[in-house]
């Protein structure tokens, strides 16, 4: 967070944007869902909007950091070799920022899968319905029908994205 703040003071625009999304991150997922309710009513669409809002901050913040963390000397070397801005982005900056971008996507994916259960509160449907019904009816087997797939979903998305991350950063570990 200090790092983000440090860079924010340098460029006011990226500062404003990152500040906004950081603030967004602090709002709990349930609160976002409830805040959407008076605006869009109940159903699947508002749940989708809320979950998208939830997914954006970690991806954006991590991408921002990923690009910021590329060693400036590598950029200088690339510039010195006559790479244009687009080639620099495609061949150097994006590949080097990829690990952080991917870990942002990973965080977002797990967060969305977990929060999607709460969508049931605003009538968004999904596995959350089983959990909420199970809780209110005191029916544990019904609750588990919702809870177990959600846990499996969260874990598999984490696993898949982790392995993609490992694949793209193979050069960092080879010895």
């Amino acid at each position: 967070m200090e790092i983000i703040f440090y860079y924010n003071t340098k460029q006011w625009l990226s500062g404003a944007i990152m500040g906004l999304f950081n603030a967004l991150r602090v709002i709990p997922s349930l609160a976002i869902l409830v805040l959407i309710l008076p605006l869009m009513g109940t159903g699947f669409a508002p749940a989708l909007v809320a979950l998208t809002l939830l997914a954006v901050p970690p991806i954006l913040i991590n991408s921002f950091l990923g690009f910021r963390n590329v060693d400036p000397h590598i950029i200088e070397a690339a510039n010195g070799m006559g790479m244009g801005a687009r080639m620099l982005m495609r061949k150097i900056e994006f590949p080097l920022a990829t690990p952080l971008i991917l870990s942002g996507i990973k965080t977002a994916a797990v967060e969305v899968v977990a929060s999607a259960t709460l969508a049931a509160f605003i009538g968004g449907g999904g596995l959350g319905t089983f959990i909420i019904n199970g809780l209110s009816l005191y029916n544990f087997s019904l609750l588990l029908v919702g809870a177990i797939p959600v846990a499996i979903l969260a874990m598999t998305s984490e696993l898949i994205l982790s392995s993609i991350e490992k694949m793209t950063t193979r050069y960092q570990r080879i010895s």
């Binding site: 590598i74 070397a77 006559g82 061949k91 150097i92 590949p95 050069y171």
Partner: protein, 318 residues
């Protein structure tokens, strides 16, 4: 005539925003084609700024730089940079690319054929003395010295006429640095590149440069061959910087062949010998170590060409 000059600085001034004193002020400098020019000075002397204006990493506030007679602003900056090799202290290899891909960067941008690029990579790896098996390795698998070898190979990949080097050996241990200096000097002589080489190490500047630019507070204090800088320092500052009163340093810059006198047949048969290429510093060392009166100077074939006595080591004729 102008084609003989690789780089010409014409009244170059650079003032960074928010600073009162220019980093480089009103500098005129002519770098001849094929010359190895070292720029030496303390930090803040403007030496790196001067270097980075040649490939437009830094734009001068006023003045013009000519590269082989043409204003460097006449072609697109990316095109200019592809024609100039650039080596920095931090090396800046691309960590996600193999050694081969790193070296092939500029040739690929230039659109060379696959075979040409492969041949070029092999040639360069051989030139910087890295085994061909390193092609598929990643930068972090190499030591600092090896990485800078790749850095040099990468800078020369597009076969540029001019190489800009910003303290390339500054972060490398002393033993490896000496090795790299010797090898790079040989490479430069072999390929005849024009080299502009920034360093803060006076020994390095004297050893590598055919000519040396001494900078201080944005101004060129002196520009000349190493021995000239040592024997006739232009200002007391140059003298202090080069420690020109250090006789060993001067002796180190004179070759035995320049000072030897003819043999007269009365030399001791067991007299020690040194090579024509050795410096007078080595001659003095040998004299002191062996307690001999003469040192025989021999050539590559072992032929006795002349001798050096203590008399030749007195730098009286300077």
């Amino acid at each position: 005539m102008i084609q003989q000059d690789a780089i010409v600085f014409d009244r170059i001034t650079k003032t960074f925003p928010g600073t009162a004193r220019p980093a480089v002020s009103e500098t005129n400098l002519v770098i001849e084609r094929g010359a190895f020019v070292t720029i030496v000075g303390s930090s803040g002397s403007g030496k790196t700024t001067l270097l980075k204006m040649v490939n437009r990493i830094i734009e001068p506030t006023s003045g013009t730089i000519y590269l082989f007679g043409t204003d460097i602003r006449q072609k697109p900056v990316t095109e200019l940079r592809r024609s100039i090799g650039y080596v920095i202290q931090q090396i800046g290899l691309f960590p996600h690319m193999t050694i081969e891909e790193n070296i092939a960067t500029v040739p690929r941008i230039l659109g060379w054929s696959r075979q040409t690029i492969e041949a070029r990579v092999n040639f360069l790896l051989d030139l910087v003395r890295l085994p061909a098996s390193y092609k598929k390795r990643y930068p972090r698998q190499l030591s600092g010295g090896q990485q800078q070898r790749v850095g040099i190979a990468r800078a020369m990949a597009g076969d540029p006429d001019v190489l800009l080097m910003d303290e390339p050996f500054g972060a490398i241990d002393a033993i490896t640095r000496k090795e790299l200096q010797d090898e790079f000097l040989a490479i430069q002589k072999q390929l005849v590149k024009t080299v502009l080489f920034v360093t803060h190490d006076m020994d390095e500047a004297l050893k590598l440069g055919d000519r040396i630019v001494v900078m201080h507070e944005g101004k060129v204090l002196q520009y000349g061959p190493p021995f000239h800088i040592l024997s006739q320092p232009a200002t007391p500052f140059v003298s202090r910087l080069t420690q020109s009163d250090n006789l060993f340093r001067q002796l180190d810059l004179i070759k035995a062949s320049e000072k030897m006198i003819p043999l007269n047949g009365r030399e001791d048969a067991n007299a020690p010998h040194i090579h024509t290429r050795d410096s007078l510093k080595k001659a003095l060392q040998t004299l002191l170590q062996t307690n001999a009166d003469d040192i025989i100077v021999i050539d590559d074939a072992g032929q006795r060409l002349g001798k050096i006595t203590l008399e030749q080591l007195r730098l009286t004729d300077r």
